[in-house]
């Protein structure tokens, strides 16, 4: 949770609008709502029945345009590379995550503008 706060603060300091979800269930509620979401950043280990990789798969299935960044203490293997746009191994530098988010969102805007 404290990592979530740190990342959220860093992203807000960059001018991003950040929606915080404490677990997969909350994330799915937000994704299903009218709240505009361009990028999902999730840890694989979450305090919920659904882990972050399953959340990422579910989000990818319903939102092909959604950018996905996954963080974990180890590479989950499998289809992670196919699902996620970026992967960060913990411990990671917050600045590195913020920079990657910035680049991915810029890619989205470029693609949308075509």
């Amino acid at each position: 949770m404290l990592i979530r706060l740190m990342i959220a603060d860093a992203l807000r300091a960059q001018g991003r609008s950040v929606v915080e979800a404490s677990n997969s269930e909350e994330a799915l509620i937000v994704l299903a709502s009218s709240v505009p979401v361009d990028l999902l950043l999730t840890d694989i280990r979450l305090p919920s029945k659904m882990d972050g990789l399953s959340l990422a798969r579910s989000a990818r299935a319903s939102r092909r345009d959604l950018k996905l960044v996954v963080a974990s203490s180890h590479h989950a293997g499998g289809d992670l590379d196919a699902v996620a746009d970026a992967f960060f191994c913990k411990p990671y530098a917050v600045n590195a995550v913020v920079d990657r988010v910035k680049k991915l969102l810029a890619e989205s805007r470029y693609a949308a503008g075509r």
Partner: protein, 196 residues
């Protein structure tokens, strides 16, 4: 939300929003950020405690739902704050009947009934911060904040009067809830010390 009603808070004033329903939490959190507050979000009391236990992290106000899943509800959280972070003010949000039963002991400004308008929450926060005066935020040396007045001074104390009025309004809606909180309120006041 009306832009004219949003008066910017000081950049350093921090509100901890504790709410288990994510869509409610994000609306009130974003509203308060737009009002100029720094906002920290917690999905439940356990997360709130993680934040509050960081004594180097400034928190001026805790705005918490009363009914939350987990081992600790808003009342217990407010009690923890009163004991461990005495300079931090607490505003509870919940159903009026339940809130008035305990809010008088825990929150000088009573509670905010749900569903609430974000502007109402902002107004309550502004009043609390304004009434705090020059006392430094989260000052452990100041001790726990209590109502601290004998019954005859109720009408002259904004906080107590506000709380009492909240209870009277609640009683008008639910007469069964009135006699118990009033008795608790009065007996609690006579037990409390008169400030020096």
């Amino acid at each position: 939300m009306r832009q004219a009603d949003r008066k910017p808070g000081k950049a350093t004033e921090t509100v901890l929003v504790v709410e288990d329903e994510v869509l409610i939490r994000l609306v009130i959190a974003e509203y308060l950020r737009d009002c100029g507050y720094k906002v920290v979000e917690a999905a439940n009391a356990d997360e709130a405690l993680l934040v509050l236990q960081q004594t180097d992290r400034r928190v001026d106000i805790v705005f918490s739902d009363i009914e939350m899943p987990g081992g600790m509800d808003g009342f217990a959280l407010a009690q923890w704050v009163r004991t461990n972070r005495p300079g931090v003010e607490v505003i509870l949000a919940g159903s009026v009947t339940r809130a008035v039963n305990a809010a008088s002991d825990l929150c000088e400004q009573g509670s905010v009934p749900k569903p609430y308008e974000p502007q109402t929450v902002h107004d309550r926060i502004r009043r609390l911060l304004a009434s705090r005066g020059p006392r430094p935020p989260d000052s452990r040396a100041s001790g726990p904040k209590t109502l601290c007045c004998p019954p005859r001074l109720i009408s002259s104390m904004t906080g107590a009067a506000s709380c009492f009025l909240t209870m009277r309004r609640a009683a008008a809606e639910d007469p069964c809830a009135f006699s118990r909180p009033l008795q608790t309120f009065r007996s609690g006041l006579t037990r409390r010390s008169i400030p020096g």
